[in-house]
């Protein structure tokens, strides 16, 4: 288990929970790739202002607790469909701050997952310094 420098252990574990809904493939990552995901996110957060890390920590708490109002349970105790519904609400939320917060959180998950070259093959991305043989296909 990777210790993140930018988030507390509790926040980091909850970030992983959210990440599994944002990118379902995260749920089946082995320990090494999961650690790399968190390390990429950690580096990105450490490069930014400390206020960004504080805001992310607060926003993770908001996501965790918000479902209590509607479902009577915290986010991590919901099933997959309800987790998705909660995040869809945040994505289109009329409160701009929450909508933008979710966009930022989602971007971090994507950075951690798609930023790993080990995942490129799964999506068919195969860059080559010499791309000339691959230019004409159709």
């Amino acid at each position: 288990m990777l210790v993140m420098r930018s988030l507390t252990d509790t926040q980091a574990r909850f970030f992983e929970t959210v990440a599994e809904t944002v990118t379902p493939e995260v749920a089946s990552l082995d320990a090494a790739r999961r650690a790399r995901l968190l390390a990429i996110v950690d580096d990105a957060l450490l490069d930014r202002q400390p206020s960004v890390r504080r805001q992310l920590g607060t926003f993770l708490s908001v996501i965790r607790l918000a479902p209590l109002v509607r479902y009577g349970r915290s986010f991590d105790r919901l099933d997959g469909a309800r987790r998705t519904a909660v995040l869809r609400w945040f994505e289109s939320c009329p409160v701009a701050l929450l909508r933008k917060g979710f966009w930022g959180l989602k971007a971090l998950v994507f950075m951690g997952y798609y930023g790993q070259p080990e995942h490129w093959a799964e999506i068919g991305y195969a860059p080559d310094f010499d791309g000339r043989p691959g230019v004409r296909r159709a």
Partner: protein, 500 residues
């Protein structure tokens, strides 16, 4: 505090700083001391790995994801030996006459900028790629535009020995792109100009500047010791880009005499759309940006360009998440991409300010006219995808995640204006302009048409911060043309400016 003394200091080494350095190199060859102070690192040729997260971290501010104050837009601008010319795609256009007229800056004539631009087009080996070098992603865009009767043109680009890696925005791994790191800076250094990397200028004044050198943990070692430096110079040329040039002058106290400093920032807010074809196409091999459509330039105030981005950048620009998002990402080899650029108005409220720590904050709001342009551009792009044969289209403001081909004639209805919501759709900018706009006096601008800061002797700006309004095209050639003017003015007046 380390002390240095130069005749001329140039802050920044991108399109502006690189051009100024080369144009002033004859003065260095004649014995004048000239230094370029560059915040970013210089990478060894074999350090360009093409790995997205790693390269973005080394070549861009905040990995290319600097957020505006209201967090509705991310900005990508370079920090490296060569500045943003290391990470652009090399598309090389000369500013249209109509735009120069709209700029309305005394002394700035379209013919003059065209003549200077032509010099850099030649210097940077700008040319059109041959038909066999164009990949499907680009040809499908051209063919789709043509089928719809939209005006489409090929981008001239500045490469030499391009091997079609498609990794331009992560720094060319084949040294093919002719940015200032390959052309102007080496030429300037050969003539005696010093380039100091990893050197952040914190304050500037008439006749001096202060800087901090720090090892970023990557790149080649720099020539100055880590720590604080004071640099005396008879002429200072600020070329840090729209955000950092404005911030540097604000931090240095010029804001009180120059009320327009930092203002009139324009960004060409941009969106990425994808169309999925029923079969694989060539997209991530080949130059990513070969065509543009300016059909809607005057009528709807947007441009369309071909583009091809990397997995993370692509993923964050798609709307949504979860299974359908993953499904689209797994279609990567079948994706055609279009970048749309809104031509935004120059407004005084859109500006660079400083936070409590003196760091720049971009206070920018996308107004209704920009959101209208983004909306219309999504509709036009969807039509191009379908005209090119796409099976389905993903539009950031689409009513559904995918718009299927059988609904191609309903794109107006399926991409409603009401869904163009800042903070939900992913809007980015790589064309940052203004903040130190040229004009007549301090009452309407920050510099004159030569880039001289009003009321400050020996202090120039020579980068995209000078633009009084958007360039309405990819801006780097215009930056070089304006930098060429600033350098000419310094050369012509060197006797007076550099007198002891």
């Amino acid at each position: 505090m380390h002390e240095h003394s130069y005749d001329i200091v140039i802050i920044g080494s991108g399109a502006g700083g690189g051009a100024v350095a080369k144009e002033l190199a004859p003065l260095a060859a004649a014995g004048r001391r000239i230094a370029v102070l560059e915040w970013g690192a210089k990478l060894a040729d074999d350090a360009y790995t093409g790995r997205e997260v790693e390269m973005a971290r080394q070549l861009y501010f905040d990995s290319g994801g600097v957020l505006t104050k209201d967090r509705t837009l991310t900005m990508a601008y370079g920090r490296a030996y060569g500045g943003s010319t290391v990470v652009y795609t090399g598309t090389s256009l000369t500013i249209p006459e109509e735009v120069v007229r709209r700029w309305d800056v005394p002394g700035i004539e379209a013919e003059d900028l065209a003549r200077r631009s032509a010099k850099y087009l030649a210097e940077n080996n700008v040319h059109l790629l041959d038909e066999e070098e164009l990949n499907d992603n680009n040809r499908l865009f051209r063919d789709g535009c043509a089928a719809l009767g939209y005006r489409v043109q090929q981008f001239p680009i500045n490469v030499k020995g391009c091997r079609s890696s498609s990794l331009c925005n992560l720094g060319c791994p084949n040294s093919a792109k002719q940015g200032t790191h390959r052309v102007q800076l080496p030429a300037a250094e050969a003539a005696g100009v010093e380039v100091i990397t990893n050197c952040r200028v914190t304050r500037v004044g008439e006749g001096s500047c202060e800087a901090v050198v720090a090892d970023p943990g990557f790149g080649l070692p720099t020539t100055w010791e880590a720590g604080e430096h004071r640099v005396r110079a008879k002429v200072v040329v600020v070329c840090g880009g729209a955000v950092n040039s404005s911030a540097l002058l604000l931090r240095s106290g010029f804001g009180s005499a120059l009320p327009n400093l930092g203002r009139y920032l324009t960004l060409h807010p941009a969106l990425i759309l994808v169309g999925e074809h029923p079969h694989p196409i060539s997209n991530f091999h080949g130059h990513p940006k070969s065509f543009y459509c300016d059909h809607f330039w005057e009528s709807e105030r947007f441009l369309l360009e071909t583009c091809m981005y990397f997995p993370f950048t692509t993923s964050k620009n798609l709307i949504g998440f979860g299974a359908e998002h993953s499904e689209l990402m797994r279609a990567f080899p079948r994706l055609q991409m279009i970048l749309v650029l809104a031509i935004d108005p120059a407004l005084p409220a859109n500006r660079v300010v400083l936070d409590r720590d003196g760091e720049p904050v971009v206070d920018y709001t996308m107004g209704p006219e920009v959101l209208d342009s983004l909306h219309r551009s999504m509709v036009a792009s969807a039509r191009i995808f379908f005209a090119a044969g796409a099976a389905r289209v993903h539009a950031p403001a689409g009513a559904t995640f995918f718009i299927d081909r059988r609904d191609a004639d309903r794109v107006e209805e399926l991409i409603p204006r009401s869904r163009v919501v800042p903070g939900k759709i992913s809007v980015a900018s790589a064309h940052l302009m203004g903040g130190c706009r040229m004009g007549r006096s301090a009452a309407d601008s920050v510099t004159d048409g030569w880039g001289r800061v009003h009321g400050a002797r020996g202090l120039y700006v020579a980068d995209s911060a000078l633009f009084p309004r958007a360039s309405e095209i990819n801006p780097y050639v215009t930056v070089m043309a304006l930098a060429d003017r600033a350098a000419e003015h310094i050369r012509t007046n060197a006797g007076e400016l550099l007198a002891s």
